[in-house]
């Protein structure tokens, strides 16, 4: 790779309000079938809370000073942020790009390809916001929200969603076909789902894995933020997590927009 290639991959995309028109398209489709779309984030956390919170929790005294069900509840909210945005901008975007040719149709209008990709990423962030808000309501219904700070969780959800969507879009830009997403699914999302302080504290892992997870995986940061807000107990480590997300998100946003442009416009 030449230096000019690397520079072009990190070129700041020029975006206008037209990103919104792309976002609206995805939103309209979502709202057409909103009942089906609302069901998974409503039911899934109930299964997890019952099975793991009550079932498995019966064998666990407490974790970090709270009941096991209380420990995993914020993780479920975070996981829904990751899943809804990551899958929207991998499988969802790929279907729109490759099978439905929706991106081709849009770029024949005054909207640019960068704006299409930015709109998709924004929509992914919105999916994270919608999905995790529903999970948060379920968690609240179980009486597991301890602090009014939890009202800030939709903000965390949007920005975490932005991060996961941007990372997902980078995978999409590399995907030769839809089966490709099995790789990030099993090699990235599944381990992250398990190793991010979700169902047991990160500190129980060997220090090497711990260090790796906090340095390279996005989910531990989201989990830490969400847990802090739900429990009303904000450790100083939160600032590191916010900084981590604030650096990683724009890098992947710019990178994936340029890589997608390169993929679609020869």
């Amino acid at each position: 790779m030449k230096a000019s290639d690397i520079a072009s991959v990190f070129k700041l995309p020029r975006l206008t309000y037209r990103v919104w028109n792309v976002w609206r398209r995805d939103f309209d489709v979502f709202m057409k079938t909103w009942k089906v779309n609302f069901l998974p984030p409503l039911l899934e956390p109930i299964f997890y809370l019952v099975a793991m919170g009550y079932g498995l929790g019966a064998f666990v005294h407490s974790v970090d000073g709270v009941a096991y069900i209380q420990f995993i509840a914020p993780a479920l909210v975070s996981i829904s942020m990751m899943y809804s945005s990551f899958f929207e901008c991998t499988y969802g975007s790929f279907v729109r790009m490759y099978y439905q040719k929706t991106f081709d149709a849009i770029i024949a209008t005054p909207i640019s390809i960068e704006e299409v990709i930015a709109g998709e990423i924004l929509w992914g962030a919105t999916r994270s916001l919608i999905g995790s808000s529903i999970v948060l309501c379920v968690v609240a219904a179980f009486g597991l929200v301890q602090s009014p700070l939890a009202l800030l969780i939709p903000v965390v959800a949007f920005f975490s969603g932005l991060m996961f969507s941007a990372i997902a879009m980078a995978f999409t830009s590399l995907a030769p076909n839809i089966d490709f997403f099995n790789y990030p699914g099993f090699l990235y999302i599944t381990p992250m789902f398990l190793l991010s302080g979700t169902f047991f504290p990160l500190s129980s892992l060997p220090s090497g894995i711990q260090a790796f997870a906090t340095a390279f995986l996005p989910l531990p940061h989201t989990v830490m933020l969400t847990r802090g807000l739900i429990l009303g107990n904000l450790p100083t480590m939160l600032l590191t997590s916010i900084a981590w997300m604030a650096i990683v998100t724009p890098i992947f946003f710019i990178l994936s927009t340029n890589l997608m442009k390169r993929k679609l416009i020869k």
Partner: protein, 309 residues
């Protein structure tokens, strides 16, 4: 000079497009005056669609210049795209929406306000005779209905330029003629049209002028009728193949081009109307007939009979 500029809707100079080492469009010059219907003909891979995509500011140029309404495609893509309507070759209608919603969502991409979009969508549905399908799902539409909706969608921004990439491919004759009528109607309204097609009758029927492309170059251009006259003449004599007939025809038309394809002989000559008739009256040939020369003869003569792809 100003008049000249405003009269040329599209102007390409040395236009070139490379994909890696492959030269898809090779240093072509062409212009399309305002209000003209210009046909791009050529075998698969000739560079027609690539050219259209450059006019629509979707593909960047590798070389040369291209202006639309006096604006460079590389400098002012948004303005240009705003005044162009595109009916692409492949179906890229939005399967997640109904017929009407497809038009409304597309209108939004052009920043057309909602009330105005609804008004135009209804007009376009009427124009494309799709009123009954207003609420149908895209998956339920036949190829013909889809093509009509794609045309309607291309008109939602009231374009001054229309790019039609094989607008009638795969349609039955009724649907084809319906689309032709619509294209004629738009031409009458003064819309500048670029059309690509494999159907020579379509080009002859609709286009003021045709450009024939092959291997990324424009190899001939002109009015369909004058191209036929120039390259083929007025009539073609076809006869069943056998050695004696071939010999007789060679002697009868020493100046002509004879083509033998499987079991038929075709004689092309620029001699005036009536020459073949007179010949056949004097020496009847088995299975012979005279037909009018057409654009397909020109096309095959210029681009050869070899299969592409």
């Amino acid at each position: 000079m100003d008049l000249m500029v405003s009269n040329l809707m599209i102007e390409a100079r040395g236009l070139t497009k490379k994909f890696g080492d492959f030269v898809a469009v090779d240093n072509i010059d062409f212009e399309v005056p305002s209000g003209e219907c210009c046909g791009f003909l050529g075998p698969n891979g000739a560079g027609k669609t690539t050219t259209i995509k450059m006019v629509d500011c979707v593909l960047p140029l590798s070389g040369g210049s291209l202006t639309v309404a006096g604006m460079s495609v590389s400098e002012r893509p948004r303005e240009i795209k705003g005044m162009i309507g595109v009916a692409p070759q492949e179906d890229n209608l939005d399967p997640d929406f109904s017929v009407l919603k497809n038009l409304l969502v597309y209108a939004r991409y052009y920043d057309i306000p909602k009330a105005e979009a609804l008004k135009r969508a209804d007009e376009m549905l009427k124009f494309a005779q799709l009123e009954e399908k207003r609420d149908a799902v895209i998956g339920e539409l036949s190829t013909g209905l889809k093509r009509r909706l794609i045309l309607a969608r291309a008109l939602i921004n009231e374009p001054r330029i229309l790019l039609l990439d094989e607008p009638t491919v795969g349609l039955d004759p009724q649907a084809r003629h319906m689309i032709w009528d619509k294209i004629r109607e738009l031409r009458k309204q003064g819309v500048t049209i670029i059309l690509t097609t494999h159907y020579m009758d379509e080009a002859a029927e609709l286009c003021d002028r045709t450009l024939i492309m092959d291997h990324g170059k424009i190899i001939e251009q002109g009015q369909p009728a004058s191209l036929v006259k120039k390259h083929i003449g007025e009539e073609v004599l076809e006869a069943e193949y056998n050695e004696d007939t071939l010999k007789a025809l060679k002697e009868g038309f020493p100046e002509a081009t004879l083509e033998v394809m499987s079991d038929r002989i075709r004689v092309f000559t620029t001699q005036p109307h009536g020459t073949f008739e007179e010949y056949l009256r004097n020496s009847p040939l088995k299975g012979a007939f005279i037909r009018n020369a057409n654009l397909e003869d020109v096309f095959l003569k210029l681009t050869g009979r070899q299969l592409r792809e």
